[in-house]
């Protein structure tokens, strides 16, 4: 059983992806025995207002119980709260995703702090997508830079409370640098999608504890085979692999609103039975 906490559906603007539609993604779930996927819109990253892309993705995926939407939110757009209120009445949401470098967020600004304070009341996970592609290979027109992880952690830890924080796309070197933050914050998690290097999974586990690491694929931009091999061939035991593939999600999920928790629990129980 696999739960994927970091997947996308949609077009990447800079090269053609053949496997980017909802239908193909569903086949990917079947092929790799993935029971649950937290999915965001790729298109939404590049829209001035991501809401249209979020809604379109929801329409395409709402009928598949395996796909839970994670809307892309630009915290500097004043409409985010109104949209989130409306969406929460309609369907389960497994948190929201922000992309500090793609939305050029001013991490030191009042708007971002205000967003974090107000978002805290929703008791939903906050997914911080640290990177989407190797910036050495980015399109020359893109002005995207690296996220300053120290800076964003300082702001988030001060202004966001109660719910889980997932650092999606973190690198192995960043895990080592920020291991103390993971140790000091019980609700701080990361995904596996950008962790690489010989023995890097086991060393990540040693650094921050296995309960902090969840499986993320970065699909459809990255090969699912690479992401699954990374865990299966890590040298971790079967039970440790199970924690990364699915069990740790249950630690992350309780932060969801009660109604969503019921939905997740029901779905997970159905699959486990």
């Amino acid at each position: 059983m696999i739960i994927d906490v970091n997947a996308f559906i949609g077009q990447w603007p800079f090269y053609a992806l053949s496997d980017c539609t909802t239908e193909v993604f569903k086949r990917t779930l079947d092929k790799h025995n993935i029971q649950l996927a937290l999915v965001s819109s790729l298109d939404g990253i590049f829209h001035h207002d991501p809401q249209f892309a979020n809604e379109r993705l929801l329409e395409e995926t709402v009928a598949d119980y395996r796909i839970i939407n994670v809307p892309v939110i630009n915290p500097e757009l004043p409409s985010w709260e109104k949209i989130l209120d409306r969406d929460l009445k309609l369907h389960p949401i497994a948190g929201i995703k922000i992309l500090p470098n793609y939305h050029l967020l001013n991490l030191d600004g009042d708007a971002f702090r205000e967003f974090l304070t107000r978002f805290s009341k929703y008791d939903l996970p906050l997914i911080i997508q640290l990177r989407m592609e190797d910036l050495r290979e980015k399109h020359p027109l893109l002005s995207v830079g690296e996220v300053n992880l120290r800076e964003i952690l300082d702001v988030v830890m001060t202004n966001f409370h109660k719910s889980a924080i997932l650092l999606a796309g973190i690198k192995f070197s960043e895990i080592l640098t920020h291991k103390q933050d993971f140790r000091e914050n019980p609700l701080m998690f990361c995904d596996t999608s950008w962790i690489e290097g010989v023995n890097s999974m086991k060393r990540s586990v040693d650094a921050i504890g296995i309960e902090k690491i969840l499986f993320g694929s970065h699909s459809p931009l990255f090969y699912m085979e690479s992401q699954i091999f990374k865990i299966r061939r890590s040298g971790l035991s079967e039970s440790e692999q199970g924690m990364i593939f699915h069990d740790n999600f249950k630690r992350y999920a309780p932060a969801l609103r009660p109604i969503k928790e019921k939905v997740f629990t029901k779905q997970l129980n159905q699959k486990e039975n």
Binding site: E137, G197, I228
Partner: protein, 245 residues
């Protein structure tokens, strides 16, 4: 059999590297040493000898696993040629060039000619970074110039992902250029594009371990939407032919 065409030595991690290669069922690793503690972009003659001795030590420790490639600084002139001779006499099977000199330079031409005379492949680092290459780092256009000068030399252009779609287009007509898949993220699409454009017989599996990992990098081949026969060529057949194994 699976052959990894692009692996680097790291002090005190040889056993770990071999163990993880075995988990991914990789039988042979083409290894070069760019520095025994950290990679050296423009090594001195003394540093080159230390690097290549480390490769020889790896070959002696695991003779059935490691296939040595000698690291050279083309700016060393005749000394570099003598070092190539020393390494090849002791069993190395290829030459590795990194970022001491561009592939289009006269200095590299001297190395290339000597490698061609010995009948060994030249593994040349290359990338087309949006953010810019290092001063003496080669891009795919530099590699093409080298290939035009020495059409009978087998050139392995490293890093399919780093060279990208531009790199594939640049080398298409130059059939003595192979591309390895090493390094970079496991980005969907570029492996399929390279196979469709160049043919699977010009693509080689490589990992760039230990900075990268066997599992993620080999997933680029197993996950690609290409035929099993093409995967076999990439994972083994092509490199076996190049190394005359």
């Amino acid at each position: 059999m699976i052959i990894d065409s692009h692996v680097h030595f790291e002090q005190d991690r040889l056993d770990e590297i071999v163990a993880f290669a075995r988990v991914s069922e990789i039988d042979k690793l083409c290894i070069s040493t760019l520095g025994t503690h950290s990679y050296i972009p423009a090594p001195t003659r003394e540093e080159i000898i230390v690097c290549n001795n480390a490769t020889l030590m790896a070959m002696e420790s695991y003779p059935d696993v490691f296939v040595g490639f000698c690291y050279l600084n083309p700016n060393d002139g005749c000394e570099a040629l003598r070092e190539m001779d020393r390494c090849l006499e002791r069993g190395m099977k290829g030459v590795k060039l990194w970022i001491a000199s561009k592939a289009s330079s006269r200095e590299v031409a001297q190395i290339a000619e000597h490698a061609m005379e010995h009948g060994v492949p030249l593994l040349q680092h290359s990338s087309n970074k949006t953010t810019g290459n290092s001063e003496f780092g080669s891009n795919s256009s530099d590699v093409v110039i080298l290939a035009e000068r020495f059409p009978k030399l087998t050139i392995i252009m490293a890093h399919l992902g780093g060279n990208g779609y531009r790199g594939v287009a640049d080398v298409e007509k130059h059939t003595n250029i192979f591309i390895d898949t090493s390094g970079g993220e496991p980005t969907v699409g570029i492996t399929e594009h390279a196979v469709n454009t160049l043919g699977a017989e010009r693509i080689l599996f490589g990992s760039d371990v230990p900075g990268r990992s066997f599992d993620v990098q080999i997933g680029k081949i197993f996950g690609a939407g290409i035929k099993d026969s093409e995967k076999d060529l990439i994972l083994c057949g092509n490199m076996k032919r190049i190394l005359k194994l």
